[in-house]
Symmetry: C2
Subunit: 218 residues, 2 copies
Amino acid sequence: MEKTDKDVVLRQFPHLEQALLDELLQQSNLKKVEAGDEVMRTGQYIKYTILLLSGLLKVYREDDEGNEFLIYYLEPGNACAMSMMCSARNEQSQIKAKAVTDAEVILVPSHLSELWLGKYKTWHSFVIASYRQRFEELLQTLDSIAFKALDERLLFYLRRHVKVSGNEVRLSHQQIADELNSSREVISRLLKKLEQTGALTLHRNYLEIHDLEREFGS
Amino acid sequence: MEKTDKDVVLRQFPHLEQALLDELLQQSNLKKVEAGDEVMRTGQYIKYTILLLSGLLKVYREDDEGNEFLIYYLEPGNACAMSMMCSARNEQSQIKAKAVTDAEVILVPSHLSELWLGKYKTWHSFVIASYRQRFEELLQTLDSIAFKALDERLLFYLRRHVKVSGNEVRLSHQQIADELNSSREVISRLLKKLEQTGALTLHRNYLEIHDLEREFGS
DNA sequence: AACTCTTTGTGACATCAGTCACTGAGGCGG
DNA sequence: CCGCCTCAGTGACTGATGTCACAAAGAGTT
């Protein structure tokens, strides 16, 4: 890696100890990906742990028929817990990660990641913390699917999207439908309802979010 | 703990190093619970990591209205990943664990569990492995809810149940419905359909499973 | 302007799942 | 045997969601 990248790494992962950062900089690959690129594909063998330096990634689950839905977002400073787990077991990825914006990732070869668990206390804490955080998000996602009707799931989805990318939601209805594993028409209707309550304004190719926190009565 | 318990512990957790087992035996509580007891309640503050010595536990997610559904089973030798995570952050439990059969658990106080992560390599590996395993099961559960209709979810549920407790599924339709967050009538109808295909036989208060692996065409 | 592509809106309809109301079957205690 | 309880079966209905068909609107291209 080059010198300028070094600063970026240091800024995003301040909790990692110096010796580890040095090794990270020497032994790992920095990779730039463009918006829309797939960082990880379903069925691929994962040989790296993925650390996100900049940009935004979406992590999906995908089934046999190509249906998908969003599990969570990864922001800079996050590690992809799934890649850690798959790479550790040398297993096929059961998920898919896609760059929402242009992004930079660090690919840490699995054997190093495993080695570091014993070698660097801060790495090991980081891995545990990542697992915990992702576990919780996964549980929340599970909740929303298991207990909530589609209208609430849509709210949950939009809130999460707003949290990572602001009040302009630059998605078509079709994209939203895909990520909720629903259909466009249904999403269109629900969005229209939300517009009527004043929660957002519909535009072509994007939504303008005003307020998603209110309770939207029947 | 007493001497006889010691053997049980050693047998269930052969991967843990001796020094750790010694400390485990000295500092932790062995607790016996009866079938039906709640080992962990939603909203409770978790101060222990739970290790299962014998018996079978069910781990549920529960929402505000008391709806619940099954996330996974814990078998002897397993740790409850949720309890690890909650106790680590001193957070309220977002889940519920119930004993299916009489069971014995070891309660490891959180501060010890955290301490051991640094102190014992085998503990730390064990914790990581537990997270990974649970993560995968959680993903499978998520899949079944997100992509599958109720009939397939029922199959998924029954298969899992058979795996941990054999071909006699001693559950009422109501109980199954609860764990799938559905309703009794619907489950009854689906079970009847499965009976007609020869997959199982219905009895009062239990099901006799013959073969759940076939594809059951429309 | 005419064309074309994508996105969004909308009504009609089908299906799955949940709910309600009721029946009947099995088991248990008096 | 009778009453009572839980569990299971069933038909009718409802509502949410998905599907189909088609219309309309926006935006870029020629």
